[in-house]
Point group: C2
């Protein structure tokens, strides 16, 4: 009488991996694990010298007119690569128009900013430096600052050995892009995609299944679980104006096409549990609430509480191991270094 029972146990033991593999197979078609090496950049060879230069620039508050803000200020690498504010505070205590996205894994996004108006991180890096509400600087003043610091001149020379005039605003942006390309955060979900069944809890696996079945992964797919493709916020049902302020028409400002009103890039979801508050407006602090709003506005779905919890468990599995970043030592000002100006024009 014992053999049938033994058979049943064996059968279920055997069938579990099959089911797990089916889920992994579906996930593998939809997502992609993080690469184990620094991604190649378009027209920007990554070298150790360029990474080191880019790190120095990323941390240097002298890229801002006031000397108060560096890239790190809003893309804080201690707190998930963002600043955990609704919208960032910038020059003169002005508030930025949209929530600061994380710099972590951003190199893998198809385009940058909430409206995708920058093709890559090199193009992106030039934006905040010049934005009046952010760092409020000018390319000329940045270059004058960098050229006044002999170490930077050396570092730019080593990073761009073939350039006639290595210290330039474009090369600043390329070096920052090279550093940011190192900011990858492998997560339990990557281990799962790579074949480790134990990397995800049962709840996270159920959440992954739901994430695909309900249609979340129609937009949030690929290596960054989002970060590519543009979709109207409120495809099925527009969220309230608190979450989707009427004044910000998203990608419409880039394309000036009526179809692009309130269209945004699908947010990349790696480390999403670390980067509250949510949405371009930064108005939602609770990840469960953000999931519910997405389900309703984009899919017309009202999630059961346990479904929301499962999807959140899956999203938690996207929280990765932070890169180890040692602070750079920046060159000291010289007599020729432009002085910080905290004046607001």
């Amino acid at each position: 009488m014992r053999s049938p029972i033994l058979f049943l146990v064996l059968s279920s033991a055997l069938s579990a991996p099959v089911a797990a593999d089916a889920l992994r197979d579906a996930a593998t078609e939809t997502f992609k694990p993080l690469p184990s090496t620094i991604p190649a950049l378009k027209e920007n060879t990554v070298t150790p010298e360029k990474i080191a230069l880019g790190k120095a620039l990323f941390f240097d508050p002298r890229l801002s007119a006031s000397g108060v803000f560096s890239c790190y200020s809003c893309h804080n690498l201690t707190t998930g690569g963002d600043d955990n504010m609704e919208t960032s505070v910038g020059h003169g205590w002005q508030k930025g128009p949209r929530n600061a996205p994380t710099a972590l894994n951003a190199v893998l996004n198809e385009a940058q900013f909430w409206d995708g108006r920058a093709d890559d991180l090199a193009a992106q890096a030039k934006g905040p430096v010049q934005a009046g509400v952010e760092m409020a600087n000018t390319p000329d003043n940045v270059v004058a600052t960098l050229k006044s610091l002999p170490d930077y001149v050396t570092w730019f020379g080593a990073s761009f050995p073939e350039a006639a005039d290595p210290v330039s605003f474009d090369n600043m942006a390329k070096a920052i892009e090279a550093f940011e390309a190192t900011l990858l955060t492998p997560a339990p979900f990557d281990a799962y995609l790579n074949g480790d069944d134990n990397a995800l809890t049962a709840e996270a696996k159920a959440g992954l299944q739901l994430f695909m079945d309900k249609g979340c992964s129609s937009c949030h797919s690929g290596v960054n679980v989002g970060g590519h493709g543009y979709y109207p916020f409120g495809l099925i049902e527009k969220p309230g104006s608190e979450v989707l302020p009427e004044g910000d028409k998203g990608r419409f400002a880039v394309t000036e096409t009526a179809d692009d009103e309130y269209v945004f890039r699908a947010a990349p979801l790696r480390n999403i549990a670390l980067t509250a508050p949510y949405f371009h407006s930064g108005k939602v602090w609770d990840l469960s609430v953000a999931v519910e709003i997405m389900a309703e506005s984009q899919l017309g779905e009202e999630l059961k509480p346990e479904e929301t919890a499962q999807i959140v468990a899956f999203l938690d599995s996207l929280t990765g191991t932070m890169p180890e970043v040692t602070l750079p030592v920046l060159p000291a000002e010289t007599a020729g270094t432009p002085r910080p100006t905290t004046m607001v024009e």
Copy 2:
């Protein structure tokens, strides 16, 4: 005929170390090399757990009401432990009243702040967190923030194992003090004091000699080449009101003693070449000019240009090796974490 020449050569070879030793002997009586270990703190045992907690707190912008500023914002460890501004920019873009001093080696100062109003770094750390023009927070809100983050609760427990209620404003300050106690920057001058003749250039040695002969070291002495003792700024001749603004009466605000008008703590001079602009007013960007102003106002001395250059060469030898600081990974907000407020009251 060759022996007398040989004798002369030998004699000068022998006499050089004697002269160098005389300078070192005098220097050793006046200054002290950095310790090779973390200094003991008053009523604050330093443990690895406490250092790690203190580092997290030092970098955490949630210690400020706005979520914009951390200790690191003004005590930037990439730029000499200060912010390289005349006076810091704080909550609501307000400007602080005095130049931010470096956090590097600050543990070795006899008292903290320009007017010495805090006995130690634990007392100091509580100041900016609460100052309306700096981080504008309250102890209650800080403790509520920290208690809302389970990792912090664990870290405080491990750092203060005997405390009944480990997460407190006082313990926050003690942990920050423990981290700051690790921020020591051994410099060529230390190597010289420790016996390495080649650690200082001939110009720096001449500057060291002048620094003692002219009387600079009457105030700027000890392990931090300053950082203890209080002296009127303008002992012999008051500098202009641009450099010494009339509204800031220095230590008078602490002691309310007429003798303490315009009295300040002698600035610690380690890494001074990295921490322009100078003086409590932050009005002087050039170290040579600062040296000249000091010589005139405190000593009634007009330095020759080569003397200034020699003293600056000595001061350059106080620029140390920066501590290697790896960014901490901070806990993510929870539902209970007080939200940042960028409102200015």
